[in-house]
């Protein structure tokens, strides 16, 4: 027999703020809408080390869970709640939302090049999953909007991984050579804090991946590939928006952050330059952009160079927008050769 006790119900009535009645608006009841009263008070530091939901009454004696990221400046972005809603609404199911039947047999060399690019994109997506999830559990619960958005970012990365892999394995090809992965390792091993990882993962590699997805969509062979790249592009853009918003917030609340980022970019550029020395991805992209091997050294290579110029313009534009000074003279040659405008 379970233990019997006379119910008192006294504890059920306890609340920091009872009588809260948030009404849905014409867009529904969104995560940001319920930030009212004590539930919307988001402090600069979250000292509670438990899973106590923001606004609930804390329980005494709960063993600490050891959250390492408890300062708002280390993870916050005002847009996180909106980005979470956006990600939930704009999710796609690759099994049914991608028109797989539009994929037709391609010349072997073109299929091989597409599969090589997809192999390396799988590595990028896999890195995103591991990196975001390894930081997520270290973030204090008081900033649940960020944790929730990052959960969607992880799921978006899994959908990208899934879609890239499916495309590689559905048209007579297969996965190609593993990429050098030096950037992935740098991102995975960045231990200086989440903001450092955001700098590398979402701004540096993120802006490169976004640029690459745009070009892959442009030079896709069929509607299935176009769908995959377009869906991925939206997801990557959300991640970059979070990165921009967070770092802007962080810079505004941490005097040293901008200088630290300057150093991080200096270090990251060198790893990036080493990765650019690998010719496999460049050659594969040139073949994809040219639609085959014949024009890859000319047309394909020219489009690759244009993609790299667009990437550098975007990358340096982000640095400029964040107020992080860059000395173009210190850029490695493999990057500076693509700098064209006045950005930076």
């Amino acid at each position: 027999m379970p233990e019997q006790f006379p119910p008192k119900y006294g504890t059920v009535a306890r609340s920091n703020q009872w009588g809260t009645r948030v009404k849905p608006n014409k867009h529904g009841l969104r995560l940001g809408d319920i930030n009212v009263g004590v539930y919307g008070e988001i402090p600069d530091r979250w000292d509670d080390q438990t899973r106590n939901p923001r606004g609930a009454i804390a329980k005494k004696g709960v063993p600490p869970l050891g959250y390492a990221i408890r300062d708002k400046a280390d993870l916050w972005a005002d847009s996180a709640a909106d980005l979470y809603e956006e990600a939930i609404q704009r999710r796609f199911a690759s099994a049914t939302d991608v028109p797989w039947d539009t994929i037709k047999p391609l010349p072997d060399v073109l299929e091989r090049a597409i599969c090589q690019v997809l192999t390396e994109l799988c590595q990028y997506a896999n890195c995103d999953i591991e990196v975001i999830s390894q930081w997520q559990h270290q973030m204090a619960y008081g900033y649940h909007e960020v944790k929730q958005f990052l959960a969607t970012a992880t799921f978006d990365a899994t959908r990208m991984y899934e879609s890239f892999r499916k495309r590689a394995l559905c048209n007579g090809g297969g996965l190609g050579l593993e990429g050098p992965g030096e950037i992935n390792r740098m991102i995975l091993e960045s231990r200086g804090g989440w903001s450092e990882t955001v700098t590398y993962l979402l701004l540096m590699r993120g802006s490169f991946m976004q640029t690459m997805l745009r070009y892959l969509e442009r030079y896709a062979q069929n509607d299935a590939e176009r769908s995959i790249y377009r869906f991925s592009l939206e997801a990557k853009a959300r991640q970059i928006t979070y990165g921009l918003d967070h770092l802007r917030y962080s810079i505004a609340h941490d005097d040293d952050r901008r200088t630290v980022m300057q150093t991080l970019f200096f270090i990251g550029d060198r790893v990036w330059a080493r990765e650019l020395g690998d010719h496999v991805l460049r050659e594969a992209l040139s073949i994809v952009f040219a639609g085959g091997l014949e024009n890859a050294p000319t047309t394909g290579n020219a489009i690759y160079n244009r993609m790299m110029r667009d990437f550098m313009n975007e990358y340096l534009g982000i640095c400029e927008w964040l107020g992080v000074k860059r000395d173009l003279a210190t850029l490695p040659g493999r990057m500076s050769q693509y700098v064209t405008g006045a950005a930076g």
Partner: protein
């Protein structure tokens, strides 16, 4: 027949777009932004609010001050894009917003304030914006001279 790029034309496109649930899934969704469309001397500011396109207003250059981004290309390219959409029911490869943005030297999506955060909306809502222009396939358009 409604003249492009008048506010009335965008209102007609919005009526098609707002009524079609297919534009809300598969990468589509709610969007919140104001963007400009520049076609020669004509400038229209379009408002997206949730699942709907809720407004289109003719403005002058100063009216672009508070848009998140604006789309600008020569009239002939606007017409080529819309005629492709009308012929195919949606934009085909060489006429998607992303393709045009990449192919134009100055790009299609531009900013008056250089705000990266707001410029990024063009990519975050790219599918929805494409759906909006694709909806013009069901509007009888007067492309003018």
């Amino acid at each position: 027949m409604i003249r492009f790029p008048s506010p009335a034309w965008f209102d007609a496109v919005a009526a098609v777009f707002n009524a079609d649930d297919r534009y809300r899934g598969a990468g589509g969704g709610q969007s919140f932004c104001r963007f400009g469309v520049i076609v020669g001397e004509d400038i229209v500011v379009v408002t997206m609010d949730g699942h709907e396109c809720t407004g289109a207003d003719a403005v002058d250059r100063a009216g672009l001050a508070d848009v998140d981004f604006y789309l600008e290309m020569p009239r002939s390219q606007w017409l080529a894009m819309l005629q492709d959409i009308a012929a195919n029911g949606h934009a085909t490869l060489n006429h998607t917003l992303n393709t045009i943005d990449l192919d134009l030297d100055e790009g299609l999506s531009k900013s008056v304030h250089g705000d990266q955060y707001r410029e990024d909306l063009f990519f975050r809502y790219n599918q929805t914006l494409q759906f909006l222009f694709d909806a013009s396939a069901r509007v009888h358009t007067d492309f003018g001279a």
